[in-house]
Symmetry: D2
Subunit: 265 residues, 4 copies
C-alpha cells in the first residue's frame, strides 16, 4: 500500500488506545446539555416516562446489535453498558468503541423517537448530543459496586431531590425558594416533605423513576432432555426491568450475568 | 452531593484521558462499513460528487460550530479536523471530543442529506456509522506531514486506483479481472491505462476527486486604516477548496493557518 | 508555596502514571547488558551459583523492606516481584515504584556482593545495570499464567539450551559449531545430547538452575488456642525455594499467596 | 523462541510506555527521604557545597555517558536532564529511561562520593534513594518555562527560605520560632531579615546556592579554515555553571542548546 515519506507519522503517533484485557469495560453515556434539549421538547418534570422508555428502547437495541454487552443500567439521560470481560469488540480500542456506540445509539434514538413522541417531530436542528466514555474494572465485585454507586448516588439521590423540588415548584414556590427549602435536607427530610405537604409516599412512586432501568438477557428453563433432567439455557429474550441492583437478590437470581469466565479469579 | 460507600470507584478508576497540552489535536473521521452504506444508496463509482459535497457541508458545519477547529481536510468517507494547538475544547479529553464530534457530525449528515440527495430518503435503518479518533502532533511541521500523507498516500493513490478499476469494470471486465490488471501497476502505469484505453487524462479530472477538499477560514484584506495602510484581518467566511497541500504554496498563501502561537518553538 | 507564572507547566504536563487499582502489579527486573558484566567478573557458565544466590538475597531483602510484595520469582539476571492486588505502594505510580525498586535493589546488590564473591571487588566502574518495568494483571489466574510463562518459556528453555551449549563448548567445540548443533533441536533432542554425549541427566541438575527461585513468606501452624483448635497464622519467616510453579501443587500448598482479597471476583 | 500457551500474557499486557515522538523529554531526579540521608552524613545547612558538587559531578557523568542529554539543571537533591527532541534513547520507553537513569546515576554517586567526602564512608546501609520520572514537553518555549519554573519557584524560593530559617536557628531561635517568624513573609521581607539581623546580602551569596547548577556542552570557536573564515563547531567540553536561566541572555549566548531540529515548528 501507500508508502510516501510522510508515512512516518502513522507508526510514530497513532498509539492504539487499547483497554486492559480481561477487565470489564463499561461504556457510559450521558446527555450533553440535556436540560436545554428536554426543555425544547417539553419533557415532563421531574421524570418524563416516554423519554425514559425511549432511552430503554435504545439500550435494548444496543444489546441486540452488540451481543458482547451483557448488562445495561440507566436512568435520566444516562446509560451504562457493561461489556463482557473477554470481549474483543473493536479490539478493545476505546475510541472505536466510543464512536461506534455514539453512532448506533444516536441513530436508534432518532429512529425510535416517533414511537414515543408521536405528536412531536425530532428536529435535526435540536438533536440530542451524548458524551460517551469507557472505564475498565478488573473484578465483578467492583463492577457491581460501580452499578450500585450509579443507582444509589445518582439515580436515587437525584430523583428524590428532583421529585421534591418539582412538587414544591408546582405547588407555587419559585425555583429558588424550592431550592432553599431542600438544599441541606437529608433523605428522610425529603421523604417527610413529600408525605406531609403532598401526601405522596416516595416509596410508592413507579420503580422506573426510583430505581432506573436494567436491560439484560433472561435465562429460562426449557424442555427436559431425554433423561428427564431439566435443561436450563440462555434464551435471546431481552428483558427491561427496574430491580434493586445494590443488594444480592437480583444477582443471585441472575447468576449468568457478570459471572466472568469460569476460571478462578 | 452523593456520598455512598460505592463512590470509591470514581476516584480510583475514572482516569481522565487528557491529550498533551500545546499539541495540535487531529480528530479523524472514517466511515465504518461505508461500502455497504454507499451501495445501499447507489453512490456513483468511483466518486459520487453529491456524497463528497455532503461530507464537505458537514465539515463546514463543524468549523462553524467549533471555532477551535482551524483546518479540515477530507476525501471519500474520511475527514480530518485540526484543532488549534492551544484549544481547551472539552478540556482536551479525548473521549469527550470524540463523542461530541460524532454526535454533531452525524446529526448534520442526517439534516443535510436531503439537500444533496433530494430523491432518496435517508432511512434510519441504514444510517451511516463513523469511527472517530484523536491524534496529537507536537509541531506544525508534523501536522503538515500528516496532512500531506493523507493526500498523497490515501486520497491520491486510492483515487487513481479506483478510477482505473471502475473504468475497467464499466468497460466490461469483471471485478477480479480488473483487479488483476492493475494490482501491481505503478502510478505511471495506471495513468497510461486511463489515457490509452479510455482517452482519459487523469490530471484533468475534477480536483475534488484527485485532491480531496479543504475547509478553512479565509483571510481577506479589508479597508485601509487612517494612515492609508491596508489592514488585514480574519473574516468569518468559510472556504471549501481543493488545493495541493503537500507543497508550500498553499501554506505560504494562507500563513494564518496552522501557525501556532507566536512564541518560538 | 511557589507561585510564578511558570507554574502552569506542572498542572498541565505532569500526568500521574497510576496503575489500575485492584490489579496485581508485577515489577520485573532484567539485567542490562549483563553478558558483559558477567564476563568481567568471571561468572561460571552456564550458571554461576553464587551470582544466583546473590540475586536471591537481593530479592529476599526486597520482601523484607516492602511488605506489599507477596511473591518473587527469578532466574539468571531476571526477577519478578508481585505486589498484592490492593497495594497502595507509592500510590501505585509506575515511575516511582520503578525508581525506588532500582535504588533499593542496586544498593543491596552492592552491599551483599562481598558475601557471595569474597574474592572479588565490585568495582563501581563496572556496576551492574538493571532495567525495571511494571505490568498489571487483573486476575490471579493471569498472574499465575505470567509466572508459568517465565518459568517454562524463559528459565527452562534458556537453561536447557545454555547447559547444552556450554557442555559442547567445554568439550572442545567452538561457539558457532555448538550453536549450529543445537539451534533447531527440540527439548527432547537436547536432553539426549546431554545424556548420551556427557552422561548428564538434565532432570537431576540442581533445581535452582532448572526451576529458578521463589521467595515468599511461609505460613506455619502455631500453638492451639484456648479451645484446643489449631490456629494458623502467617509468620514473618521468608523462604527461598525452587518449586515448579506451573502446576497446581505449589499453589494448593500455599493458599495464602496470591489469593487476592476474599471478595468474589 | 519460547512458545508455550502462557505466552499470551505478553502480547496482551505488556503495553509499551513510549513517550510522544518529537517532544523534549525531561528526566527529573529527586532525592527520596533525603532529609534523613543528609542528617546521617551531617550535610551543612542550608547548603552543603560538597554535596551539591557531588550532584554536579553525577550530572556531568550523565552527559558524558548519554550524548542525547542536551542540558541539565539541578539544585539541592534535584536534577533535571533534558534529552534532545529527536532522541531515540531506549526507544523513548519511559520505564527503561527511568531505570537506566537510576542505575547509572546511583552508581556514579557511590563511586564519586569519596572525592567529595573523603572523611566519611558512604555506608550501603544508608544509601541515598532517588525518585525519577519522565515528562514530555512539545516545544522549546515550554521546556524553557519548565526550567525557569524550577529555578524561580523551587531553587530560589526554597533557598531564600532555608537561608533565612537556618540563620535564625543558628542565632539561637528554636526551629518553630524560626518558622513562625518567616512563614508568611514575602521575598523582600526575608531579604531584609538577612541584611539587618545578620548583615548578609542575599544577592552576594554564591551563585551555586542561589541559582543552582547547569551542565551543558560548550561551543567554542576553532581554527580558521583555508578561506580564513572562522569555523565554529561543538567541542565535547562539558561546562558546569550557575547562570540565570529565566531571562534570554543565557539562551542567546548558547543558541546551540535546545534549538530543536531546524525545521519550522
Amino acid at each position: 500500500m501507500a508508502n510516501s515519506k510522510y508515512e512516518y507519522v502513522k507508526a510514530l503517533f497513532e498509539a492504539e488506545d487499547k483497554l486492559m484485557p480481561s477487565t470489564w469495560i463499561v461504556l457510559r453515556i450521558n446527555g450533553s446539555n440535556f436540560h436545554k434539549f428536554s426543555d425544547e421538547y417539553g419533557f415532563e418534570k421531574p421524570n418524563d416516562e416516554r423519554a425514559l422508555k425511549l432511552m430503554n428502547a435504545c439500550a435494548k437495541a444496543m444489546l441486540e446489535e452488540f451481543p458482547d454487552i451483557e448488562f445495561a443500567y440507566g436512568f435520566g439521560d444516562e446509560y451504562n453498558f457493561v461489556f463482557k470481560k473477554t470481549t474483543q469488540f473493536y479490539k478493545r480500542c476505546s475510541s472505536k468503541i466510543v464512536s461506534i456506540g455514539v453512532s448506533f445509539f444516536m441513530s436508534v434514538y432518532a429512529r425510535e423517537w416517533k414511537e414515543f413522541f408521536p405528536d412531536k417531530d425530532l428536529s435535526l436542528k435540536s438533536a440530542p448530543f451524548f458524551k460517551f466514555r469507557t472505564i475498565c474494572y478488573p473484578s465483578t465485585t467492583i463492577v457491581r459496586d460501580y452499578l450500585a454507586w450509579r443507582q444509589v448516588d445518582y439515580c436515587h439521590i437525584n430523583n428524590q431531590y428532583n421529585t421534591c423540588f418539582w412538587m414544591l415548584v408546582k405547588s407555587g414556590k419559585n425555583k429558588s425558594e424550592a431550592q432553599d427549602e431542600i438544599k441541606s435536607s437529608r433523605s428522610q427530610d425529603k421523604y417527610e416533605i413529600l408525605l406531609k405537604q403532598f401526601n405522596m409516599n416516595y416509596n410508592e412512586l413507579p420503580a422506573i423513576f426510583r430505581k432506573g432501568s436494567c436491560v439484560f438477557r433472561d435465562k429460562v428453563e426449557e424442555k427436559c432432555n431425554g433423561n428427564g433432567q431439566p435443561v436450563e439455557r440462555l434464551t435471546s429474550k431481552l428483558v427491561i426491568d427496574h430491580p434493586d441492583i445494590i443488594g444480592d437478590e437480583f444477582w443471585v437470581d441472575h447468576r449468568h450475568i457478570l459471572k466472568g469466565n469460569t476460571t478462578p479469579n
